[in-house]
Amino acid sequence: MNRKEFLSDCGKIGLTGVTLSLFPWLESCSDKTRQQTSGEKVRMGIIGTGSRGLFHIQHLLQMPNVEVVALCDNYLPHLDNASQYFPKAKRYDDYRKLLDDRNVECVIIATPLYLHAPMTIDAMEAGKDVFCEKSMAYTLDQALEVYNRRQQLGRVLLIGQQRLFDPKYIKAMQMIHQGVIGDVVGVRNYWYRNNDWRREVPSPELERHINWRLYSEYSRGLMTELACHQLQNGSWAMGMLPERVMGAGSLVHWKEDGRDVYDSVSAIFSYPNGVNMTFESIISNKHFGMGEQILGTKGTIDLVTAMHYTDEPAPRGSGIHQLIEQIEQGVMSNSVFAGTSWAAETSSLAAGRPIMQDVKVVSGESSVGAEADGSKELLEAFVNSVICGKQPEKVLEESYYATQYALLADKAMHEGAILTLDEKYKIPYEPLK
C-alpha cells in the first residue's frame, strides 16, 4: 500500500476533521501535511540494519522524500546488506559516530530492546529526530526517562506502534467509539506461533548478539516483542488505562536451547471499570495465530481480520417469511425425537461482516514484519513530522503506556504478584476517545 492507497483507505473510513480530532496523529498523513512536505527531503541515518532495519529500508526505498545518508551496525554482514541499497551512505560501526554526523537529520533505531532508550536519548541530545522500534525501553525507568527527555528537548519521537496507522484499526476504533458494539466488556489479545524464534548464527560467540530476543539481559521476550503491539487496543477502545496487572509465564517447550525468556505467557490487565484485557502468547502452537478482539455488549470486532460480529439476533424476515420458515421447520422436524432442551455454548458460527473493503489481513507469523500492517504509514508519518518539525499528538503517550504495561506485566509474571503502575511512571494522558 502506498501513501495514495492509504489516503484512499482513510477516505473510505472518512478521514475527516472529526476523525482527525479523535485520532490527531493522523494529521501527519493528511492531505494538508502531504502538500506541505511535497518536494522536501530529509537526510536519515539508520542505526541497526538487521532484519527489522531491512524491513524499514524496503519502505524507505519507496519514499522520494527520504535520503539515507548514514548506516550503522556493529555486525558487518548486516551493514553490508544495507549498503547494497544505499551505496553512497556513510558506514559506521558505532552509533555515537553516526550521531556526530551533522548531515544526519533524523534516525531510525532498529536495535535490540536494551539499546532503545540509551540510543534514543543520545540521538535526541545530538539534535536528531527519532523513530525507534518498539518497545520504547527495557525498563520502566528508562521509558520514563525517554519520555521526559523528549519533552525537554522537543524532538520528534515516534515508536514503532504501527497499528495506530493501520486503516482497519482506525475504522474499527471509530465504530467502537460510536457504540456499534455497545459497551466494551472485554478485550482479548493472543499471538501464537510455532517456531523457536531463532535466527541463524554463523558462529557460537554471536549467539547472544543475534538471538538477543531470547535472553532477558537484552529483551523482555514475548511481552516487549509481541504484546506491546496489542496492549494499546484496550486503552484505545475504552479511553482508559489498566489499573492492575497480573500474569504467569513459563518456559514450556523451548527449554533446551539456553534461552531464559518465557515461551508461554498469559497476562490480565484489569481496567478501573472492571473490564479485563487479556494477552496470551505461546510459541509452540500456532493454530489460532494472531487475534485481537474487542468484545461489546452488542457485538465483537476482530481487529486483525477487520470483521464485525453482532450478538443481536439477525434481522428476521417479514411475517409471511417467518410463517413459511415455521411451516418448513414443522415439515422437516423429526416428530419422534424432539431437539435437545439445551445447546452447548460453543463459539458462535454467525458470519461476520467486514468493516471495510479490501482488507489486508496479517497472520502475525513473521517475526520481521508484515506488509500493509501500518508500518509504512507510520514511517511516512515520521518523515512528514520531521519535515514539519511537529510531533504528532497523543501517539507517543500511547506508545509509552504500551511499553510500560508490557514491562509491568513481565514484572508481575516474574514476581507472581498483582501490580499497579507506580504514580511516578504516570504521564499526562488524554484518552483516544
Binding site: R316, S318, G319, I320, Q322, L323
Partner: protein, 77 residues
C-alpha cells in the same frame, strides 16, 4: 375434439373465487403481522407474496374441485 365454451358466468365465478382467495391471503398476511409482531407496512410491501399465496390457495381449491368433479362424474355413471 369439441370446442370448449367458457361462459361469462364461469369467468365471473372464477374471478370471484380468486378474489376470495386473495382476500384470504391478505388475512393470512395480517395474522402473520400480528403473530410475529412485524410492521404493518408489510400489508403493502408483501403484496407480491400475497398474490402468489392467493394463487396457491386458488390452485389448492382447484385440486379439491377437480377431485369433486371426478368423483361426481364417476358416481353419475
Amino acid at each position: 375434439m369439441k370446442d370448449t365454451i367458457i361462459t361469462a358466468q364461469m369467468k365471473r365465478r372464477e374471478l370471484m373465487l380468486w378474489l376470495a382467495c386473495f382476500a384470504v391471503a391478505n388475512v393470512v398476511n395480517w395474522v402473520t403481522i400480528i403473530k410475529f409482531a412485524t410492521p404493518w407496512y408489510e400489508v403493502f410491501t408483501q403484496l407480491g407474496y400475497v398474490v402468489v399465496l392467493s394463487f396457491v390457495i386458488y390452485a389448492l381449491i382447484g385440486m379439491v374441485r377437480l377431485a369433486w368433479w371426478i368423483l361426481n362424474r364417476t358416481f353419475r355413471k
